[in-house]
Every structure is written in C-alpha cells, then in structure tokens.
Symmetry: C2
Subunit: 444 residues, 2 copies
C-alpha cells in the first residue's frame, strides 16, 4: 500500500497561485480561479452561522480579551457528567469485540441493529411501537436534516417560536422558504407558532395556517415547557384535520416528572396516523459525543398518494447514511438494560437538581422563570431588553455563558436560556455570581 505523498514544493505553488489570483481579481486574468459553479441560493438565504458555534465564537473572543477569565458555561446544552459504569462498559465492550474474530462486524443495517431496535420498541415504547418502525441513527439533529430530505423543497413548515434553530435552518437549506425578512426576524413561507408566557408556551392553533409539516419539541428547547396530554391532543387533532405531519422532537422526554405530560406523542390517540417521533440518547445517557439517536415512523403514516412515509425515510437512511457506529449501538443496548436505566435515572435526577438550583436563584432575584421542572432548560424573562445584550452583559460581569433567546427565533427575544447541563458546583458558582450581579438591581 502507499500512503499519500506529494512533491514537497506542491503546497507552495498553490499558495502562490491563490494569492496571485486574489491580487489579480480586478486586473487581467487568463484562467479564472473561481469555478463557474453557482452558489446554492438556499444557503445564501441563511443568516450568519449556526447558533451554537456562534456562542462558542463569542466565548473565545471574550477569552482572548480577558485571558484567564474563569468562564462557566450554562450555554450549549451539553452533558458534563461521565458516562456511568454499566453503560460505559457497553461502549467499551462494543469497541473491544471489534478486535476479535468472533466479535468483529462491519457494515450494520442502515436502520440499526435488530436487538437495539427491538429494545427501544419494548423498553421505551412498551411495545406500542414495532421494532421495524424504529430507525437508529447518529442523533436527532442529523435525523431532522434527513427528514427534510424526505419531504423535499415543496413541503410547507410550521415551527414553534422560539425553537431549536435546526428546524428553520434545514427548512431554509431545503428551499422550503423565501427570503429572510429582517423586520420580522422571520423567513418568508415558514409558519412561526408563537409560544410565550401568555399562552402557556403552547401555540394558539386557531391562528396557525395549515402546513405539511409541524415541528414540535416537547419538553421544549429552549423554553423548557412540556406540553400536557390535553395540549398534545389538540395538536394531534389539528394535524389530522389538516392532513399535516407532526415531527415530534422528544429528545428531552426523560426529564418529564409531571404525570399529565406524555413522554411520547404516541400516547395521544390518532398520533400514529400523523406523527414521526425523533429522539436521542444524547441527553438520556450523556451520549452527546457518542452519537446515537432514533426516529419512529409508524406504518400508518402515509403521503397524500397513499404511499408509506416509512419507505421513503428508509430510502434516505440507506442511501444518505450508513448506520450509527456499532460501538455506540452497543452502548445504547446497555442503556436499556435494567442497570443502565437505573444509572440514567440518577443522571437525570442530577441535572434536574441543577435546574432546581438555577430556577430558585432566578426566582429569588425576581425574574419571571419558566421551565426547569420537566426539562433541563430554564427560560428567564428580561422584558424590554435585547437578549444578545443580556447575554453579553452576563458574560462580561459574571463570566457566565448563557444563550440569548433571540437565537431561537424572534419569539425568544427578551428571554435567556440557562442550561442545567453542568457540574453542580458550576451551577452554584454561577448562581453566586448572578446574585452578586443582580443584587439590589430590580429585575426587569
């Protein structure tokens, strides 16, 4: 075999060519350096970068100006606790066996290992979902993008406002929208379903126009609102009446405590005719870096022509994806064994404990505080203020990274999201700093 080798002068030549081309752009040039390939007009519509890398950039910029600053992150919802012992042994076992003749396996099914699909159906859905309706993946974000590919450029879309930015961004990328309207902070062609304190963070569906797809996240990222059985029944009835398909993002379902809050859309009668559910091991088990999620596409779900949505999703999964890592899938199996489930309960309890600490502090400081009881996110009102300004002020004065609500859509303006995914001591220290910062300052 040969590894790649180059003439040593090679990169030098290119660098020269590139800088030459830059200098000569306005002068005579015989061979153009830029290709003749047009830029994808849909990507051009997108605003700035994807939210979370932007937060990272601002954090780094702050650190450059304030070297050595002791920053606490309550920003990106990234797990911080080590993976518990039994689940970790599943990952380690999955890796080790690849080194043995008996244990080695190559390509798996693009839809995931049979036993894991079975276990998700049995353990998490108590058998109300069939194993071949479960598609195992490398995570919910990737699945949302693949679902957009299933429905294509002509699909119309509704999203909660505020919402996880991936729904809107992937919709824009697919060409489902018009241009960005600066004055509204919205893309033309998307239905933004207002979710705020006035409507208990559940949209007034009588004001929502019919769309093909309804992205709905509960417990919600970023507001932390968890839709009740009654609210979800309204949503399912609305979708069925309109012949819409709900893409239900249940990635935060394990944080639900309230018995009136369903942990799956399929608890609602009729949901199997009109709903896809997206979920993930990221927040269940600290798998944000391990990468493992799943999607449920019920057999009953049909396009207008009567063909099965499941078949087209399967075609996308097998053509544009090659299965989640077998190592991650072995970790997923361990999650769903009894010892794994016990470990997950402890993990979730830990993060909900953090959420309680953050909630209490912000309430005591006099803010309006939402979420954080059935979700790992606390949504704090700063009425009349620009959320990016509040973000910068808190970063500057308390060295705490949060997420400005406006990053989740225009409906998030005036709010800040605090994440409970952090070590307990970090949450406590952040609270101490926020108390110092806001001491004596009348909130809002």
């Amino acid at each position: 075999m040969a590894f790649i080798s180059f003439p040593s002068t090679f990169i030098g030549t290119n660098v020269k060519a590139a800088s030459f081309s830059r200098r000569s752009r306005s002068a005579v040039r015989t061979t153009p350096i830029a290709s003749a390939v047009p830029r994808n007009a849909n990507l051009k519509k997108l605003q700035a970068g994807y939210l979370f890398p932007e937060i990272g950039r601002r954090r780094r910029a702050y650190l450059e100006q304030n070297p050595g600053a002791d920053i606490i992150s309550l920003g990106v919802g990234d797990t911080t606790m080590p993976i518990p012992e039994h689940i970790c042994s599943g990952l380690v076992g999955g890796a080790s066996k690849l080194g043995t003749e008996e244990g080695y396996s190559g390509y798996g099914a693009e839809q995931g290992m049979g036993p894991l699909r079975e276990k998700i159906a049995q353990v998490l859905y108590k058998g109300t979902v069939k194993s071949d309706e479960v598609f195992v993946s490398d995570g919910a974000k990737c699945d949302i993008s693949r679902l957009q590919q299933v429905f294509g450029a002509t699909a119309t879309v509704a999203v909660q406002d505020p919402s996880y930015p991936v729904y809107v961004d992937t919709s824009v990328m697919m060409g489902q929208t018009g241009l960005y309207d600066e004055s509204k902070g919205q893309f033309e062609g998307i239905q933004y379903m207002q979710c705020d304190a006035e409507n208990d963070f559940f949209p007034d569906l009588s004001k929502v126009k019919r769309t093909d797809l309804i992205f709905f996240c509960s417990p919600n990222n970023p507001t932390g609102a968890a839709a009740t059985r009654e609210q979800l029944t309204q949503l399912v009835n609305f979708a069925k009446k309109n012949g819409s398909i709900i893409i239900y993002d249940a990635a935060y379902a394990p944080f639900i405590n309230n018995p009136d809050v369903p942990t799956s859309i399929y608890e609602i009668p009729g949901a199997r005719d009109c709903s896809i559910e997206v979920n993930s091991f990221s927040k269940y088990a600290g798998f944000t870096g391990v990468r493992l999620g799943w999607v449920i596409v019920p057999d009953e779900l049909k396009f207008a022509d009567g063909s099965a949505v499941r078949d087209d999703f399967n075609r996308i999964m097998s053509t544009c994806f090659n299965g989640a890592s077998s190592i991650s899938q072995n970790g997923g199996l361990a999650c769903l064994e009894d010892s794994g489930r016990k470990e997950i309960e402890d993990l979730i309890a830990y993060y909900l404990g953090n959420a309680a600490v953050l909630r209490k502090t912000m309430l005591e400081l006099g803010f309006k505080v939402y979420g954080g009881t059935d979700a790992p996110y606390i949504w704090v009102g700063f009425p009349g203020k620009k959320s990016w300004d509040v973000f910068s002020e808190i970063l500057d004065k308390a060295q705490v990274v949060t997420i400005p609500g406006a990053g989740f859509g225009p409906g998030g303006e005036g709010y800040l999201r605090l994440s409970a995914f952090a070590p307990r001591e970090a949450c406590e220290e952040a609270c101490k700093r926020l108390r110092a910062m806001y001491a004596g300052v009348p909130a809002a």
Copy 2:
C-alpha cells in the same frame, strides 16, 4: 424521570384503526388516514431500492428457499478482518475515558477533533493540506449526501459509468435530474461518462459536456481501475477549463501500489482550485461499522460569485451533522500513529492477497479481468450476458454472492464485481466453486 408508558390497550386501538382504514379505503370514510402531504417528487423518480440492500434481500430469499446453504459473500465491499490491536486499543481507550471525570467529553466540534484534523493533514497529506481544510465525518457515503446539499437542486452532475450508486441516487434525491429513461437505463440530466475496457476505464473527456460537478472515484468502485497521474491531469485540466468542481472519492487510495497512480487528487497541480476529496477510514482500517471518514475542501475552492465552498460545507456540517463519534475519532488517531499505520499496511496486504487469488482464478478460467491490483475489487467481463442473470446463476450454482455490474449503471452491464473483502479461506473456497462451475465451460 419517567420512561414512556402507555395505556395498555393503546396499540390495539391503532392496529384496529389501521386495518379498518385499509378495509374501508374503497368504502365510505369520514376522516382520511392518509395525510395531505405530497410525496417528494424526486424520491418518486428513484428506481427500486438502494443496490446493496437489494443484494441482501436476494441473498436472504435464496437462503429461505435453500435453508442451510453455505453462502460465501464476495458482494458488498465489507471488511471482515478484526481491527488490529493498536487501533482497537484507541477505540477502547476512547470509550473508557468517557466513564471518567477527566476524560469525559460531550459535543465535539462538528468538523472533528483538532488533533485528528491535524494528523490527517500531516500524516496522510504530508502537510500539503491544512488542518482546517479537513472535515472529519461519519463516512464517505454520508459526506456525498451532504456535499449534494451544499450544491443544491440546480447543480448539474457527471458520473463515471459504471459508478458507486450513491452519486446518482443522491443527485436524483436533490432534484438535479429528470426522470429515469428505461430504454437507456439512465436519468435525464446526468452526464454518464462511459468507462470500459476500450478506454482503459477512463472517460473520453472530449465527449463529456460541461457540468457543475464531476464525481470521480479512483481507485474505482466497481471497476477497480486506478487513474494514472496523466489521466488525472487531463481530468483536472478539463474541470478547470469548464469551471467545474471535481468530487474525488479516494476511499480506496490505500490499495494503490502503482507509483504512477496518485493517492490524492491534490498531487495534480491545479487540483486545489477545482477539487474536493472524500475519503474514509472504512477500508483503511476495517472501520465500516465504526464510521469515520473525512472531506478536504481547499481554501482556494470558490463558487462563481467568489464565495468559499468551504464556508457553505462548514454550514451544512454544523447544521445537519453533529460530529463523528468521539470514540471513532480516537480510533482514527490510533490509525495514524506509527503502530497503527503498520497494522493498516498488513490489513491492506491481506485484502490485496485475496484480490490476487480471485484475479488468478478468473483469468485462468478464461475471463477478461480488470482491477484488483491497486484496488480491492475485481471486475470480470461476461459479454453478451445480463449481469443480474450471471449474479443469480453464480448464487444458484456456487452459492457465491457477487454484485451485478448493472447495479452500478448501464455501463456496468455484462460485468460482475467480486470483492476481496472476505476471509482468505472464503476466497479460496469461492474460487474452487467457480472453477467447478465454469470447468469446461468456455468463458464468454
């Protein structure tokens, strides 16, 4: 926390509803079960299923009719050797450390770990590529789909014929093509660049119309042809003349022995202005189930408007993807250490040994045989025969699974692909059976 729980009667209700709806489709029905969401017209254009699952289905069907048949697979190019010790220890270490406070990490950069990007640039590209031009991913198939998302529905595309089916399928899915033309076996709007024995499996570029993108795989899947420096220079000049972008799939580069065959497109002067390179650890290190690949997007690569292709690829990677598993990335780091590289050399030598065994047999049986010296695939001519018929005949008479050339495009008709990814004994046994089957039969 609460796991999902349902009223126990729930699935019963749905099953009944579904079967009711099926019965009543032609009768009166008040609430329609099918949604009003139109099926994506581009997915409707696709022919049958994705090739490799189709091979699996035929194999299973054969086994059902012939229970206990001892089938040997020389079909899907899936690695079979265990992951060698040092590399496996990288994977195990990557998994174990997630269980510790010091070693735990959550979301990584969507573009991959810095040290791995650096190592790919330094070790595999000898520094002729910069680390921030390297995007680490979960594999080449997924990257091809993401690259199609970058260029969008208006991009025009050329592919080698025959070629890896993902180029054409993802192009159809993106809406870059017209309908399938049954008589030609081609999609309207795609440029099929004929590659056959007559042109040494390199297209006559004087006959190829300009397209925005040129998918080019070398060493080629399925033909095993490895383009020489001179051929690739022609290709790069052709792309530059037309302002096209080459998407160069180098997933089989480590199998190259011939010193006249470049292992990266960037060995060709000017390639950085017009080429993206896709690559993968799958065939380097038996990572087909581990999932790890990378893409190089040089800084110099520009759209017609002068904006950087790299920026849009970065936007797709950070919005539609969430990074490769950190465990897989630790395995990738181990691959690029000295001991890992030695292990990879041995693995590649083993599979090339298999290829030699298969080549020799087919040559001695009197077939025209191509590839297999700088590639793990052997391309065997069965002129005048339908390749799906030859596939079925060999499965039936020798219980050997191959891949019919027609599965790779109309240019593959009359050929069969044999994969060297198998245990040595399996290759030898397959050869014994093929010799028995074709003994005394004049080949073609």
